[in-house]
């Protein structure tokens, strides 16, 4: 019962091998160009001084933190419905990348908050939502680690991802309600919705592209590792039986 006889993982290894270096290369290029551009070549903000430069890390990381979870949700659904192992493994592979993005968003948000709000942490609705998202990621990864049988782990973590997504969305609204209820109209938002003028917008776009490409490359790399691990496990089981 060789794993390679299943077309899916084999085909996946086939096409991801060649494009992986290109993906990393493109990600690195966008990140270097975007961050360099943003850090060195843009002016300071009128209100926020040079801290506006943090936007080139904070916003892309925050976007990817959310998108990573959504990708995990889609991959989980595909696994539950169509039983493509690559899909389940891709979801597993994406989680550590997603949690890293969440951590970057949290830390840059907190550091940014110190000069803006006078405190390293404030229970701003957005930061709080990301803290909750961090906990969801932790739970998901912990569940994968706790279950021996790979298919059972894939099934259970997929259900957790789905239920978790509903509650994560619910939490978002709850947290907005919770903070608004205490501070009417406090302007604690880190200007994602504020009009970002062009001079900031274009390097930001490049940085976002860099983060997206990095996520893509890392998930490909990590999924390949998971597929190899699965193959190793299959071989080891065969050895034991013989």
């Amino acid at each position: 019962m060789s794993l390679w006889e299943y077309a899916n993982p084999k085909k996946f290894m086939g096409w991801t091998g060649p494009i992986l270096p290109w993906a990393f290369g493109a990600a690195g290029l966008c990140l270097v160009v975007g961050l360099f551009w943003g850090f060195f070549l843009t002016p300071d903000d009128f209100r926020q001084g040079s801290t506006v430069k943090i936007i080139y890390l904070h916003v892309p990381a925050a976007l990817m933190a959310i998108n990573a979870w959504m990708m995990m949700l889609v991959a989980s659904l595909i696994w539950l419905v169509r039983r493509h192992h690559v899909s389940a493994l891709a979801a597993k592979a994406a989680a550590p990348v997603g949690i890293t993005m969440t951590l970057i968003a949290l830390m840059t948000g907190a550091i940014w908050g110190q000069p803006m709000w006078g405190t390293y942490w404030a229970w701003d609705p957005r930061l709080t939502s990301f803290l909750i998202l961090f906990l969801f990621y932790l739970g998901y990864m912990a569940l994968w680690a706790a279950i021996d049988d790979p298919d059972t782990a894939a099934d259970l973590t997929s259900v957790l991802c789905m239920v978790g997504s509903v509650f994560a969305l619910l939490s978002r609204y709850a947290v907005n309600f919770w903070n608004q209820g205490l501070h009417q109209g406090a302007s604690l938002s880190l200007d994602k919705e504020e009009n970002v003028s062009d001079v900031f917008f274009f390097p930001l776009l490049v940085c976002i592209a860099g983060f997206v490409l990095l996520f893509f490359a890392l998930v490909l790399l990590r999924t390949r590792t998971e597929i190899r691990a699965r193959r190793v496990r299959a071989l080891q089981l065969r050895e034991v039986r013989q």
């Binding site: 060195f40 943090i54 904070h58 890293t100 830390m107 550091i111 990095l214 990590r222 071989l235 050895e239």
Partner: protein
Amino acid sequence: MIPDLGKYGFEVASAYAVSILLLLVIVGLSWRQSVAQRRVLEAAEARKNG
């Protein structure tokens, strides 16, 4: 070359340092795990074929 970051120099610098460090960690970890797994697989395949 380094722009004058004004009074927020520490914050901006540490934000960039933390983020780049975390990115390097996830890239490095993923790379190492990939290499290690490939080695294990090659060994297992060799045992199967050998």
